[in-house]
Symmetry: C2
Subunit: 171 residues, 2 copies
DNA sequence: CCAAGAAACATGAATTTTCATATAAATCTT
DNA sequence: AAGATTTATATGAAAATTCATGTTTCTTGG
């Protein structure tokens, strides 16, 4: 049932890099994302929380880039998270246009738990996948991201990844 | 020693495999996706078209798995594409529950063009990235996908990737 | 200092997506 | 062969997302 016998030649989709990247991302994330939902968060909310554990107090625009979420969408997500007590929004005293986003104590507790879960999940995955710590695949992905961002500077969706920001290699 | 304050050490997000996969996918796709929109398609529609170039006449459920789109959402997308004349839907004579989806002549013309564009874009990307044909990164991604799908059979979103289906390695 | 422009967020309307469930057609059971 | 189950797709209401644009607050040149 799985074999595509109709097509005698190489199929396009399963060999297409952009498909493989998307499929790998989805497949790798599926389990953890459903864990996240179990904890009462949607995926974009989890992304915001995770980013804030790295850069608590970022402004909305920064956070949008980090979390790969379009700005106006992020604003709405943050407002909801604020209402739920997960984050708080304070305008920057130095620049009234900016809104800085902080984890509340409750938000931090949840974020820390989930980050711990994410790390554990990642470890398991990497161990079961190739037995290593993932240095190789991660380096490849980072190189790809860096390549794409340098060589092709403008992003259609106005987001940009953070991967160039890793200050210290994964241990 | 001092771990109470903001973590100046390795940030979590930029070293997290699931982030790197998502970011790489987004970064690699951004340009081509905006080309797709230029041609009047949204990304999910492009995915449907691309899948149909491989497996014209699939039923909705199959297509949903191939294109990584949830079934009820795909149904709606297909209805729109039908209305636009890109695909046609015919119920399977052998099994009246099934709806088979075919590219119309117009749809095929557009699909073929875009697949050609996608191949060209992929070639350029791979050439500029590591000079090769992408065998290495593709093999890694396929291995990861296969690993995830075997080891962790149930997908939260009811989708599954196609990557195991490649009968012929990329040329 | 003022006007013009830019930057940072917010907002609203149109559209999409999600989730649960309805409908319909096969298949299985006994 | 009737009823029960399963499979395939559709549907509706609620919610999220998108896109263009509005508002407010800096910044800068004159």
């Amino acid at each position: 049932m799985n074999k595509t016998i109709e097509n005698p030649k190489a199929p396009f989709v399963p060999n297409y890099l952009l498909y493989l990247l998307a499929a790998a991302s989805e497949a790798a994330s599926a389990r953890f994302h459903s864990h996240v939902r179990t904890r009462g968060l949607r995926v974009p909310e989890w992304r915001v929380m995770a980013c804030l554990t790295d850069t608590d107090g970022s402004m909305v625009t920064e956070l949008a880039r980090y979390a790969m979420i379009e700005q106006s969408r992020l604003t709405k997500i943050i407002i909801q998270m604020d209402a739920r007590g997960l984050v708080s929004r304070r305008s920057d005293p130095k620049d009234g246009r900016r809104v800085r986003v902080f984890l509340t104590p409750q938000g931090r507790t949840l974020a820390d738990e989930l980050v711990a879960d994410a790390r554990a999940h990642e470890l398991e995955l990497l161990k079961s996948f190739q037995g290593g710590d993932g240095t190789e695949i991660k380096d490849t992905l980072r190189a790809l991201i860096r390549h794409l961002e340098s060589d092709q500077p403008d992003q259609a969706d106005g987001t940009a990844s953070l991967a160039g920001n890793a200050e210290i290699a994964d241990s």
